[in-house]
Amino acid sequence: MKILVAVKRVIDYNVQVRVKEDGTGVVTDNVKMSTNPPDDNAIEEAVKIKESGKAKEVVAITVGEEKAQETVRKALAVGADRGIHVKTESTIEPLAVSKILQKIIEKEKPDLVFMGKQAIDDDCNQTGQMLAALLNWPQATFASKIIIKEKTLEVTREVDEGLETIETNIPSIVTCDLRLNEPRYASLPNIMKAKKKPLEQINVSELGIDTKPRIEQIKVVEPPKRKAGIKVASVEELVQKLKNEAKVI
């Protein structure tokens, strides 16, 4: 079995994101970038499955600018076997990413495709679903547990009501939740070894697909500042204020 894992380079989750003054986006210059956290879970799960002997190869793929390959290198350092970097300098929306992945999947023919449930930069939560539709494959989203069976997958999903367990056929798309596992560290010896693992670069133009943005972004603004809270003396006062002032009950 072969597992393809899609990873994305995003602003590190510890960084205080700042909106550009002209409202065209957020500041990314000289900002620490990292792998999208749930993508780390996706890689970890794929590597674990490989280590258990159920998969033969784990391939990590990313789409983005030159530096996005750091994300693939990190995936290689924690156990992926080889990497693919689809290079583009322009804005790529989830639909375009799905189309790119579709092309690569047609060539690579993986049995499973893993990725994070959503990216922490745009929070779209669309790529996995769109890719499943394009490929006409089953999908299991928000996975917090994955069991590989003979020809199927048993996936536990994090849903609003609790946990839902479903079974899908293989091949399928799985998007991973943070609860799926605890990603391992990239150790120094493994980072050194990862430098020698193969990383193929493909220009997005070579794939012959339309990656034009479909969404026009009008303006990015900071969320409004929250007003300071108040302390109430008693439950009665709280109820009274919620009723009469806030008018929420």
Binding site: K32, S187, I191
Partner: protein, 540 residues
Amino acid sequence: MSNREVMEYDVVIVGGGPSGLSTAIKLKQLKSDLNVCLLEKASEVGAHILSGNVFETRALDELIPNWKELNSPIKTKVSKERFLFLGKTKSLSWPTWLLPKVQQNHKNYIISLANLCRWLAEQAETLGVEIFPGFPASEILYNVDGSVKGIVTQDMGLDKEGNKKDSFESGMELHAKVTVFAEGCRGHLGKQLIKKFELSKGKNPQQYGIGFKEIWEVNEKNHEEGLVMHTAGWPLDNKTYGGSFVYHAENKQIFLGYVIGLDYQNPYLSPFDEFQRFKTHPAIKKIIQGGKRISYGARALIEGGLQSLPKMFMPGALLVGCDAGTLNMPKIKGSHTAMKSGMIAAETIVEHIEQQKDLSIYAEKFKQSWVYDELHTARNVKPSFSWGLILGIIFTGIDQILFRGKLPFTLKHKHADHETLKAAKDMPKIEYPKPDNVITFDKTSSVYLTGTNHTDNQPVHLKLSDPDLPINFTLDKFDEPAQRYCPVGVYEIQTENNIKKFVINSQNCIHCKTCDIKEPSQNINWVTPEGGGGPKYGNM
């Protein structure tokens, strides 16, 4: 003893600041077949770098003469200079032609040192240097003959009690013909080496300062790209050494900072609050009013100069930059001297490897270089300020303008910074104004801007030699000054059921090292946390 993996290099460099990166670049320029490895504890090169910074290009001109063609982040030339003496509400402008030559900046550039380091790291990698961010060197390895053999990187995946978690990854041993320590001011391995090899024998105690920096985005009308302004005076009293910098950088940004000598005496003094208060001065407030604070950080710096500079070589290893202490205090600059010290180290190492010359040639080379001349000329300025601001300025005028640093004597630093605090009962309490959240802020909202994080479940990296000392002694005698000298509020005294407790919020630590320096009993030892932790500075 261990089953750690081992890797052999020609040279291992600990620290990706200006000195370490310059060492690495110069090594590869001189001898391209050397295997050079550089470790950086931050998650990326630059993320733990904080500096003013008005940059003198002298060392860079020598290292990479065509830096202007290589898209370096050195763009904003100093166009105008101002020096202000601040009173409580007034300010007096000092004519720049009356400033000592070392404080004239018209040939220099306003830069972000963090960005310069990112760029230097790219240059180094192009030359084949292997750079590994996120890996602190936590331990020194020695050969049987006592010489330095290399270092071990920090273990990852230990829990609070030091037990191995499932994710545990052992540190790795890196062995080298020469190990270069470039950790910056008060490096925790450098500190051990200075002690073990008695490198500071016969030298004055090292002197330190704590430097704060904020980046503000300000109104266009208040911004004058290229303007460099320094102030002395208010809010500090005559006895406390310090001053501010206000640099008008590119993109309508102002680099605003404050440096306070850590030889201050009043345990009630809070460097953080002095900096916050400084911004309320009319001369400063008018610049940042209507603007927005976008970054905050702090870092200790070296102020001791030549008198306190330890021997920089030992068997198998060299100290470079401010891990030794090459900052030029009256110039308020350390980047160019740090870089040059690294370049000299590289020359030393190549001669050591190719011609088996002893590493002690580093001292001779250093003495023949312009860094030594600079530090020699500058040597009497900082100690003269122990007589107070006014006498210090008068002496500095005579020493620097009339005699150009050539007075036939050398003033001494008498005390280490941890010895200077006076008992709390003998010193006045200081009431600091509450933050207004517009110009001034509290520590909590400030640390938020640093992007600091440490993995939750890991051993506390601020080690107390005696865990009971803060409550049993320091609280009573000095009102536990750690509550105030820490720029992000790592240390707190909490009272629970009438029992006082000393709390260490180590996850907030921004690796400034002030506690390691100023704790009056030297009870706090800063060690490396898990790799990648600490601040995530952008263009600091």
